[in-house]
């Protein structure tokens, strides 16, 4: 269940005409990011295909999928992989619409923006499909741009599957089991907690400023305030590091990190590994033999 605290920024205490102030926009963005992480954790706890896998096997298999996807060059196979990410999302009880929206609104959209010039004769000369003056779209350019967008969408899809179906604690256990040093794992664990704590602090700073201001303020004032607050966060981070270390010592910390490894693979995981290997071999085989580029 998502705590009510996560929705503070969505409460919108009062509405103003005109655009939102910088403080409000930043507070909303931070509140949204925090709420998203909490929602992800809730989603990762539901009973779906990817959630039921051993986190080590899931992490390695998604990494392998991403690598295999980078070796796939044909458009039909890249489209198949996009569909595969959505099928995995559906099997993991993730809303396919939300999944697609997330992939295409971030990676897909920026992929489109970045790859668009490559479709023109300016970057990729060739047979002209649509003539728009100096920015004519060429056939090879269109293929290159589409391939790039599809590739980015596949990569983002696999990445999002890990983010949405794996609890942070499980991810840390997987990293620990895969040989990542306990010191690094402990630092990662602490980092995530401190990020959430600092984000809340920063969100509250912006909400407090918003509540004290009658207008949005000038850019110069806002810039000065933002820099002052950043410096405060820097000082607070250093101070908190000392406090956390003192707290660790007072609880008997001796320098040794507790191991987080407590994972057991099941027959379901074995079946997943076999299916994954078969899917990767099939994808690369079809890409090279049926649709060579």
């Amino acid at each position: 269940m998502i705590p009510a605290l996560a929705h503070i920024s969505d409460a919108a205490p009062r509405k103003r005409s005109g655009p939102r102030s910088l403080a409000r926009r930043t507070a909303d963005a931070i509140g949204h990011a925090v709420a998203e992480v909490l929602e992800n954790d809730e989603l990762a706890s539901s009973a779906g295909l990817m959630q039921s896998l051993d986190p080590r096997i899931k992490l390695v298999s998604v990494l392998v999928f991403s690598v295999v996807a980078s070796f796939v060059h044909s458009l039909p196979m890249l489209l198949v992989l996009i569909v595969a990410t959505m099928a995995l999302a559906a099997a993991s009880r993730v809303s396919v619409a939300s999944f697609a929206r997330k992939v295409w609104s971030s990676a897909g959209f920026f992929g489109l923006l970045l790859s668009a010039p490559a479709a023109t004769a300016w970057i990729t000369p060739g047979e002209i499909l649509v003539s728009l003056g100096p920015l004519s779209i060429t056939a090879p350019g269109l293929v290159i741009a589409t391939r790039l967008i599809a590739r980015v969408a596949v990569g983002a899809g696999f990445g999002l599957l890990v983010v949405w179906t794996t609890r942070w604690t499980d991810l840390l256990r997987a990293l620990s089991a895969m040989g990542v040093s306990d010191l690094v794992v402990a630092t990662l664990a602490m980092t995530q907690k401190q990020i959430m704590s600092l984000l809340r602090t920063v969100e509250n700073m912006h909400l407090a400023r918003e509540s004290r201001m009658l207008s949005g303020g000038t850019a110069r004032d806002n810039r000065g305030w933002v820099i002052e607050r950043m410096a405060f966060v820097a000082r607070r981070s250093m101070k908190t590091a000392d406090d956390v270390y003192d707290a660790m010592l007072s609880r008997g910390f001796s320098g040794a990190m507790p191991s987080l490894v407590d994972l057991h693979a099941t027959t379901r995981d074995l079946a997943w590994v076999i299916a994954s290997v078969a899917a990767c071999v099939l994808a690369l085989g079809v890409d090279r033999m049926v649709f060579p580029v």
Binding site: L63, A107, I144, T187, M190, I227, A231
Partner: protein, 338 residues
């Protein structure tokens, strides 16, 4: 600057993923020596700060906003090795928790933002600030360091993008990953950071250093420069020796066309360009000193002379700033934080 999956081919991302591991090991070893058991909460908080600083919207011109990366600031506060680890951790958390930045591209993102940016920025800061910086010089040094750091990291990302069409293409020459050649990718990345993100990073870093210097100057203590600067000079010498590699590139860098090349492309030379083209004749056109016949040696000599000129001007500006600083400004005691 976060590179998602799909833009870099396996040759590039695998090489960078492998290259980052020994650097993390060296950084961890260096930090263990200085920070000991305290490193876990300090690195965690520094990584959290690195993440959070990117969430602040900084107002810039025309009502738009930008955000800072903060890697150079962390390098100034904690040293470059600690910045390397904390920014890397922030990037890993961004990729695995927030889905920002690709999984296969983690190595590339860490090389750009957790190695190149903090190290370049830190040593530029040391070079400009000197060992006993006053208030104004420290702030100026932080701004220059942040600007140079982020622009260098952006150029590195541009090089990574620009190498893709050379490294991976179909038989007919179609790019399989990022399609833009070096002549497009490098200027595109450099310009947006020279003109927009660089100034934002510089203003934010200068501002935070100014506030910290006023409120808690102990955070800005520095280690004596002797040993790290030796490494900087060694790395710099290696780079100068490698400059003849640049002669292998074909064609002219994007946007740096001469009048004749523009005429060949457009069919005419714009009147203003023709008029302004002869106003200045450089001492070494095309990095080829007239007194050296061999182009490779000439390129190398041009690199040495150009670098010496830049260092000389920087040194002179640094001396000038030092002279203008208040001599009674508090000195900074050495610390082992780096």
């Amino acid at each position: 600057m976060h590179i998602p999956d799909g833009y870099l081919g396996p040759q590039t991302y695998a090489a960078l993923d492998v290259a980052i591991i020994p650097i993390w090991v060296i950084a961890s070893t260096r930090i263990k020596k200085t920070l000991k058991a305290k490193q876990v909460p300090l690195m965690a908080l520094a990584a959290a700060f690195s993440f959070v600083i990117m969430m602040f919207n900084v107002p810039v011109v025309g009502g738009s906003t930008g955000h800072a990366v903060g890697a150079v600031l962390i390098a100034i506060l904690l040293g470059p090795w600690a910045a390397c680890i904390s920014v890397s951790i922030a990037l890993v958390v961004q990729a695995l928790v927030f889905g920002d930045g690709g999984i296969t591209a983690i190595g590339a993102n860490c090389v750009n933002m957790a190695i190149i940016m903090p190290f370049v920025g830190y040593y530029v800061y040391r070079l400009v600030a000197g060992d006993r910086p006053g208030h104004g010089r420290r702030i100026t040094a932080a701004g220059i360091a942040a600007y140079v750091g982020i622009v260098t990291a952006a150029i590195a990302a541009g090089v990574e993008f620009g190498l893709q069409p050379l490294l991976a293409h179909t038989a007919s020459g179609q790019a399989l990953y990022s399609p833009y050649p070096l002549s497009v990718a490098v200027p595109a990345m450099a310009f947006e950071h020279l003109l927009f993100f660089g100034p934002v990073e510089a203003v934010v870093t200068m501002g935070i250093v100014a506030v910290l210097a006023r409120q808690d100057s102990a955070l800005l203590r520095m280690k004596p420069a002797a040993k790290p600067l030796r490494w900087l000079w060694a790395a710099f010498a290696c780079l100068v020796l490698l400059t003849p590699i640049g002669t292998l590139a074909q064609g002219t860098a994007w946007g740096e066309w001469g009048a004749q090349q523009i005429k060949a492309t457009l069919g005419y030379i714009p009147a203003g360009l023709e008029k302004a083209g002869g106003l200045w004749t450089s001492a070494m056109p095309d990095y080829a000193p007239s007194f050296i016949a061999n182009p490779l040696v000439g390129y190398l000599v041009a690199a040495v002379l150009g670098s010496a000129l830049v260092i000389g001007v920087t040194w002179a500006v640094g001396r000038l700033l030092a002279r203008n600083n208040d001599d009674s400004a508090p000195t900074v005691p050495p610390t082992d934080a780096a």
